[in-house]
């Protein structure tokens, strides 16, 4: 058997295929949403809630920054963390826009890529958190100032400052490398597959495998 034989076989089934399906049209016309769309609607609600959360953080940090603006370690830390919060907020808005533009009649690879972006939200948030890890001292400086009104930086010895600077640089290199690896293009790498599966789940692995396959000739 070859593809031409298969084509002939396929053509012969048209009438039978139509006859093998019955549609309950009155029930269909009363439906307002399906499973896929309901799932997306729930995700939209979650993204709106997260956007509000990020917005509150941004406003709070700005209030903290302008209340006593000096080039102190806690203020600079607040600015750094504010940048991360703004990235998170912008990412959420981007997700909402993307969800509202999803078109199921778009070319398959385009829609699947957009679906991957929507479903990989948890992965993106994890990437953002991971990216902030090298700047872990920002959390510490800000925390000490907010909770105890202490500028911890002033109490650090020169050696400690050097240690934190070096550890930040090393962590930054590690985080940048890890982040560059966690994409659907590397889904065939076992540890990347495990990480994506652990953070988001099997569904995203499946989407990643599809996209990776589609981009490989």
């Amino acid at each position: 058997m070859n593809l031409d034989n298969l084509k002939n076989t396929w053509d012969k089934q048209d009438e039978a295929s139509n006859a093998s399906i019955e549609i309950n049209q009155p029930l269909l016309f009363s439906i307002g949403v399906n499973q896929q769309m309901e799932k997306l609607r729930n995700m939209k609600i979650a993204r709106i809630a997260e956007s509000v959360f990020f917005f509150i953080i941004i406003v709070s940090l700005w209030q903290y920054i302008v209340s006593d603006f000096t080039f102190s370690a806690p203020t600079i830390s607040a600015i750094i963390l504010n940048i991360f919060a703004i990235i998170g907020f912008a990412g959420n808005i981007g997700q909402l826009v993307l969800m509202s533009e999803l078109d199921f009649s778009a070319p398959v690879k385009d829609l699947q890529r957009n679906m991957y972006s929507v479903f990989s939200h948890k992965l993106q948030v994890t990437r953002l958190v991971l990216l902030s890890v090298p700047l872990y001292m920002a959390y510490t400086f800000l925390g000490f100032d907010v909770l105890f009104s202490v500028d911890l930086y002033q109490y650090l010895s020169e050696q400690m400052v050097i240690f934190y600077a070096i550890s930040t640089a090393i962590l930054f290199v590690i985080a940048a490398w890890v982040l560059s690896q966690i994409t659907y293009k590397n889904i065939t790498t076992p540890w990347v597959k495990k990480v994506i599966g652990y953070i988001v789940g099997e569904q995203l692995i499946d989407m990643a495998e599809f996209l990776n396959n589609a981009e490989t000739a």
Partner: protein
């Protein structure tokens, strides 16, 4: 949606509902999954009908939606087993291909072959069997023409090897 849209949609479905049958039988192994997927495709078509541009072939638009839904839906399929349906009223009813006596063995064999392909190659194969040109397949799937041609070439080799054994 108004009554005219409902009538037009009914007419289009009566003409093209075989597409749903072909897609669900290509993408799902279990009959209840085929029912669920068919329902998802049908509702997606109905809920998107306002966006259909009549300048384009309806079957092409319908295939795109059906394949997109099937590729997204199929993720759950491998872990599913046939189980009794809990819905009293079915939105769509598909005859189980395995119990269709008048369905030729060739057709069943064809679906078994398509069932072995990966999700992307399934879509390529379905559109190829629908006599779509390489360019049209490439446009529907968002791939390059060369990629489509390469994949069809590989499917041909797989097919030849399989039926040689």
């Amino acid at each position: 949606m108004n009554k005219t849209t409902e009538i037009e949609f009914s007419q289009l479905m009566n003409q093209h509902k075989g597409i749903i049958y072909k897609v669900v039988n290509s993408y799902c192994q279990h009959h209840n999954d085929r029912q669920d997927l068919a329902q998802e495709i049908l509702t997606a078509l109905w809920l998107s009908i306002d966006k259909y541009d009549s300048e384009y072939k309806f079957s092409t638009w319908m295939y795109r939606i059906a394949l997109n839904i099937a590729i997204s839906y199929y993720r759950k399929d491998s872990k599913r087993q046939d189980r009794p349906s809990i819905n009293d009223e079915q939105l769509i009813n598909i005859v189980d291909i395995t119990t269709e006596e008048d369905r030729s063995e060739d057709i069943k064999q064809l679906y078994r072959f398509i069932g072995q392909l990966d999700k992307l190659n399934k879509a390529i194969m379905i559109l190829y069997l629908e006599s779509e040109s390489y360019e049209s397949i490439a446009n529907s799937l968002g791939l390059s023409k060369t990629n489509v041609a390469t994949r069809i070439g590989r499917i041909k080799v797989t097919l030849a090897n399989q039926f040689q054994d």
